[in-house]
Symmetry: C2
Subunit: 231 residues, 2 copies
């Protein structure tokens, strides 16, 4: 996000939500922190495999490295193998590379099977995520406000004080303007107790008058309204 | 939750939300899975310390053990000490005990300073959570439907199909019945892509007619409506 904001890269592709594990909360927080905009989204089916050094077997494995989200998506497998310690690393490719570099038959990585080829590892288990329909939604982000004319989805965020009814009043702007909300998420505002930043996806285009009405109402009552994208 | 449901224990106290790290998503999922009810809630201020074996110094530390939530709440400290590897364990007390048992000056635990006394450890850093106002909200759960007459907060959950406008229609029941929502959270439904279970806290008592109206409307349109508590 820093590289995009500073113009050192044109686009970033960020995982924002997984159909088994839920939202990637850190990436929601980054959407607020940086002046970047969502220009599109894409959904990919995700399969995690268990990879070990050539010759290793599942019963040899004592430690598994992976990204925390991949570990969450493989929770049932890890619960069935409680003797194996799970350790979080930066991403699944780092996990696979670490296992390949260290060459220890007691170590394995949870990563896509593509990494087996890349790093010369064996596939010990082809699928360890517990949900057959495991998919991840990725957003594509850039530092320009690119609001497409045919766009049908708007993502915004805003902050609310911790007063009774503030969430009620904010959502009423969507209801009274007949705007369909697809998703609502809240994240704590750092340093403030029980005050939230809300992330809402709703159907519409920034040129629609109902959308303009709702955003005007929200801007008057909420703090730090930010249009994250219309795509 | 299993012990409570089966009557082997009377009450459970579960962390449900932290003011820095956000919701404890697994405990939301458990509220749906088990036939238990929220009867009260309590908020505690949380301070995490870094604990090591007697004689250890911060610059000796190579590995830190703690619960994933405590690691998230100490994210800035961990980022400032990137050479230290963070490893998740079952809870913060297990982390402290492990450090005490293994007696290695390169290991530390993030846990409350109380654990220093309990396990004979030194406090290497008194506060490693990055948010001064770090608080956790706990819910108290039992297997009886205890709906207090003077209760002013209701927690419910329900599931929605992935159709345009389903969230909109559901929230309209709160708006049109003038019910203040305090909190709304969504969690993926296992095995179904992009379908969500919503958890809503709102102000009211199950005997209020506006509450009865709203719940009747929700029950007609949503799936698996569950009253989690009125407290």
């Amino acid at each position: 996000m820093e590289a995009i904001e500073e113009g050192m890269a044109d686009y970033a592709v960020l995982p924002i939500e997984n159909s088994s594990a839920g939202i990637v909360s850190q990436n929601y927080d980054l959407l607020f922190e940086f002046e970047n905009y969502i220009v599109d989204e894409v959904v990919l089916q995700i399969k995690h495999a268990l990879l070990g050094v050539p010759g290793a077997n599942l019963q040899d494995i004592e430690v598994i490295y992976s990204h925390p989200q991949a570990l969450m998506q493989s929770e049932k497998f890890l619960q069935d193998h409680r003797n194996i310690r799970a350790i979080s690393v930066e991403n699944t490719a780092v996990a696979a590379k670490k296992v390949a570099d260290e060459g220890d038959i007691h170590q394995a990585a949870i990563a896509s099977s593509l990494n087996a080829k890349l790093y010369g590892l064996d596939i010990l288990e082809p699928v360890v995520n517990y949900n057959d329909v495991n998919s991840t939604r990725f957003i594509i982000v850039t530092n320009q406000k690119v609001f497409r004319k045919d766009a049908g989805k708007i993502s915004i965020c805003f902050e609310l004080p911790h007063t009774s009814g503030s969430l009620y009043r904010m959502l009423a702007h969507f209801i009274y303007n007949d705007l369909n909300m697809d998703k609502i998420e809240s994240r704590p505002i750092p340093g403030r107790n029980w005050e939230y930043r809300f992330f809402i996806d709703f159907e519409g285009n920034l040129n629609d008058s109902a959308v303009k009405n709702a955003l005007r109402g929200i801007r008057n009552e909420a703090m730090n309204l930010k249009i994250l994208g219309n795509y």
